[in-house]
Symmetry: C2
Subunit: 230 residues, 2 copies
DNA sequence: TCAAAAGTGTTTCGGGTACACCCATGT
DNA sequence: ACATGGGTGTACCCGAAACACTTTTGA
């Protein structure tokens, strides 16, 4: 048996599952493939890793090419590498997941090999190319998990936001309604929000106070070993 | 700018951080490199991915080559791919972490490029080759996290085990003592343990009852949406 | 009878959840 | 005055944590 048999040819793709809350619905950005294989099928945006490019840098580049925007959260998800997953040959897909703040989610012009880009409600996804259905499921599971146990949730919302907006983002991801009073108590009780003096009109009624996520306070608490469960 | 510039040469390694509890200490299996680069330095066991080999299959193969054993738990950790991390060229390392049950942890004969293999207490690690120090830190963090929030802990213990053995495994990983009564209440309260009729002598005193992890009960509860926090 | 480890209940505390009304604003 | 969304407090429940003694076994 040939030990350490060298692989004939290996490529690495970096794919990014991009989530955002749009009109109170958790949405994911997909691109329609303009070239084979799977031409005409929807896929998770991504592309091949370049020489001398770090993995996270590649993910940020793809994200920027697809959306023109910068993510408020970006994290590696997992690597998918089943031998038959890409008909062109052996391709490892290093997957990331990204959050965009609500509001910055105009339908972007497609870049690269994509014929079209569009946002889809996560509950109404088309069949995806390659093994991207699996990747998406994994990403969604991870997002929900992290939303409940970490502070990623603040990445779904603009820099300044009302508590109602934040709550709606949580509800959109988790798919269930939360109690307004309990939600506010919990989120304010974390001690990582700073109230601003500004307000925002939501509809034609009483204006709501705008809050900011305070990275300083967050770090201070984390250094003391405070956990952040939602 | 050349779009989708093809990489000159890319290889993928699969590395496995192998944990076990030995003599009440959380330990990691390391190999001493017998060839450059980093010859003579300790490293996380691993090797190059083969053609037509799945990622998890490669991890299991490496594990078996290094230890001759089968893991009770194996999960992908993350992929490390900074451009300069391997002086031989661009190498992505798809990392896994594995648990071995206590008892099956004889010091293994080294395989492959390794000159030597040995278990190290996680609190007394030598400097590691490549970026393996980072990989190890990440693995340890993940293990601790999963131990508290999932049922991975049962992978640290033989098929049949006493509650004291299980508690010692938890204490070894988390680095703090737990209350015996609370621990037993919690773990039995999960409803996933089955008492056997057998007993085990621990020292020269009263024998302890042996328990088994019941996969059936676990699945039954998980289907009902029961979470498993430790 | 002693040494060694197994085994067992109760109380207290804090966080989570359920629940309904008044307030500020513009029309 | 009314429509719209913003904002607030209390009671109950359950799981987590603290805490010490009795039992079984073999030497």
């Amino acid at each position: 048996m040939s030990y350490n048999r060298r692989m004939a040819s290996l490529r690495a793709a970096v794919d990014v599952v991009i989530f955002a809350v749009r009109e109170r619905r958790l949405s994911v950005l997909l691109v329609k493939r303009g070239v084979p294989p799977f031409r005409g099928r929807w896929a998770i945006p991504g592309g091949f890793l370049r020489e001398d490019e770090g993995l996270e840098a590649a993910a940020r580049r793809e994200l920027n090419e697809e959306t023109g925007l910068t993510a408020s959260f970006l994290e590696q998800l997992a690597t998918f590498g089943a031998p038959g997953r890409d008909p062109r040959g052996r391709v490892l897909s290093v997957c990331y997941f990204a959050l965009l703040p609500a509001g910055n989610t105009a339908v972007p012009a497609p870049g690269g090999d994509a014929a079209q880009a569009a946002w889809f409600d996560v509950r109404k996804l088309p069949d995806l190319a390659f093994d991207h259905g699996d990747i998406f499921e994994y990403a969604l599971q991870r997002l929900r998990w992290k939303l409940e146990w970490t502070t990623v949730g603040f990445g779904l919302v603009p820099k300044r936001f009302t508590l109602t907006e934040l709550q709606q983002a949580f509800e959109a991801v988790l798919g269930r309604a939360a109690d307004k009073r309990n939600f506010r108590r919990k989120v304010l009780g974390l001690g990582v929000l700073a109230a601003t003096r500004e307000q925002k009109r939501e509809g034609l009624a009483r204006p709501a106070r705008l809050y900011e996520f305070s990275a300083q306070r967050f770090e201070k608490l984390r250094e003391r070993g405070v956990l952040f469960p939602f």
